[in-house]
Amino acid sequence: MNDRTLVLSLRLERVAYRERVALRDIALDIARGEIVGIAGHVGAGKSTLALAAAGLLGTSLPAAIRGSIEHPCGGRPPAAFVFANPSTQLTELGETVEEEVAVGPENQALESHEIRARVDAALELADAMALALRIPRELSGGELQRVSLASALALDAPLLVLDEPTAQLDPEAALRFVGAVRSLRERGVGVLVVEQNLEILAALADRVLLLADGALLASGAPAEVLGRVPPWDARVGGRRTGHEADRARDAQRPPHAASRAPLVRIAGLTAGYGTRDVLRDLSLDIRNGEAVAWIGRNGAGKSTLARTIMGLVPARAGNIGVGTHDLTSLPAHERARYVGLVFQDPRSQLFSRTVIEEATFGPRTLGAPREAALTQAREALRAVGLDGREKDHPGDLAPQLQRRLAIASSLASRPEFLILDEPTAGQDAEGRGFIGAALALQRSRGAAAVITHDLRFAQDECDHNVTITDGHVSHIGRISIGDDPPAR
């Protein structure tokens, strides 16, 4: 259904945060049943445009807006919004998932039977019905993302705005998500979707807007617009491309990793929370010079495996060895000499006044002399593309750059084994290239594991994939995916 009744009419001359202009000269209309995609590099203004379209700029988020934003179909609220970070979606007014999803309809003062119908339909469409009675804070990132989508759908708003909605979804869930959003077209819902995964954008959108440095660069059919820039390398303008990072990475990649001895040895590992075992008798070897991708469905135990190796979750049985060291009985801060773990949310870690101080903190804490720590930090910052930003305040960096800084500060400590949890979420092609370069640097002196749902990144940057299913290794091998976007 696409009846040209507008759900959004947006004319923005200028949007600025304090002195920084984030958007200029943008015009966007979205009709009922239309799906519009937004692409562009980190800092292009995609999220600002999404927030403006949803009517959230200037109210909850202070910004100076010159122009008009109209929602001709009305609604309370006129648009539903799915945030890039799914924990941002939580209002905490609900104790369980279904109560959290019900918050919107409750605000609309619907009768309880209407709320129940909305909640059930939204959970069903977002593939989150099985999570209905779970506690939101205990969900994995991917599960939470499905709950975020359900919370937005329950509002039954004429416009749905999605900011990086598949960043933490496993491939199967991402496909179901694409199906769910497509089905909204039939219901006459207009959709605006910001997405770094251009394959998903190409499969989903009726038309795409390409932004660069706050301005509209191109607009039209996905094939036409996404074809105007190198298809999977969409940083438009910039000082260093993913291709340059690729070359640096290839030069550092050690040959014949498979012939080397295992560096990481995990045997019969069982661990969990409360009475629930999340990992069950898991065994895994990772060789020196290897980068492996840990893949699997949301909630399969990938992050728990990382936390157990790091000593943040106690092992109930089994052994963990890195190099010649048995880590099983060491506390987390002592394991940090041998293992590094970078979490999804860098905000839990960054505290220094400058980027360089942040990057030297790890090596200094582990006893490196100041000069050596500086050398290690500069090398790590160069790998992730933050050279030249040493004097910046970490809080002033975009979230994607903060994530790269968190990777650099762990890399600078030179652990033998480095684990990255969803490092490419929200990153553009350039960012992915730099994270690949960081992985290559790590491989040159040890091994790495990447928890990811980004199969293209896994294929390009990792030696093989380890599939984790219900807390154990169910498959080890390579995934090969095509170079072309899926047909619409």
């Binding site: 959230l56 209002t91 905490e92 009768e111 309880s112 790091m310 801060h333 773990l341 905000r347 505290f351």
Partner: protein, 254 residues
């Protein structure tokens, strides 16, 4: 987790707790607060929240008692009647009476705080006309400590991964060195989280003064409404009796 208080509309235990607090302060001393304390602890144990309520009560009442005794010993009314730094029986009895009243009030209210989920309580209050902003304020206040603790755990984990040593065996110097790495991200993330919460509420059409409905309205059977009326009536009687006694004592004195 459910407990025995879940069978009731949250307003009923709340009314009972408020009534017990009034009785503890207005009833004959020291028997009223002593009886209230016993009742509150018994209800807490029966509701499955005994250890939390006992700990909370002890945490408030015992230091209060110690502090009052210490203050009286340090600054006696008259050094002529008893010497400094040696508490006398009378001051101990006064400290005991005040601590008992405070302990009884904390125990009675603690049963509600520990035994009734905050969201259930606010839903029941919202059904009685409490505005959305006030309901949110109650939840945010009650959840502030667990939220901060959760964020602190996340920060602690992230910094332990970078080699920061905390906990047993860490000296004072080590703890001081770790402080900026722990406090910085915690403060920033708590501020950011409160901003995000406001954004999340806005995105879901939350309006502070608007009426909200509920997915699962909390039942309020006629029997319970009568119980609450009886509680308010008894409470009014106790207050009236105390006021009367007060007026009478003034009359006799004059």
């Amino acid at each position: 987790m459910t407990n025995r208080l879940d069978r009731w509309n949250p307003l009923t235990p709340l009314a009972a707790a408020l009534a017990l607090v009034v009785v503890a302060f207005a009833g004959p001393q020291p028997w009223s607060p002593a009886i209230v304390l016993v009742i509150a602890i018994a209800v807490a144990i029966a509701s499955g929240v005994g250890p939390r309520v006992i700990a909370l009560t002890a945490l408030v009442a015992m230091p209060t008692f110690a502090l009052l005794v210490l203050l009286d010993a340090a600054f006696p009314e008259s050094t002529a009647t008893h010497s400094r730094w040696i508490p006398n029986a009378a001051s101990i009895m006064v400290a005991l009476a005040i601590s008992l009243r405070l302990g009884a009030a904390i125990a009675a209210l603690g049963v509600v705080v520990a035994g009734v989920p905050p969201r259930r309580l606010t839903r029941a209050l919202a059904a009685r006309g409490m505005p959305a902003w006030a309901a949110y304020l109650v939840i945010a206040s009650l959840e502030a400590v667990p939220d901060a603790r959760r964020r602190a755990d996340e920060v602690l984990d992230a910094q332990r991964c970078r080699g920061v040593a905390v906990g047993k065996g860490t000296g004072v110097r080590g703890r001081l060195r770790a402080l900026p790495a722990l406090a910085g991200p915690l403060i920033v993330s708590l501020v950011t989280e409160s901003e995000e919460r406001a954004l999340a509420l806005d995105a879901r059409g939350f309006e502070p003064r608007a009426h909200r409905t509920a997915l699962a309205p909390i039942a309020d059977p006629a029997g319970e409404r009568w119980v609450r009326r009886a509680i308010w009536l008894a409470l009014a009687a106790v207050v009236a009796w105390r006021l009367l006694a007060l007026v009478r004592s003034f009359t006799v004195a004059s």
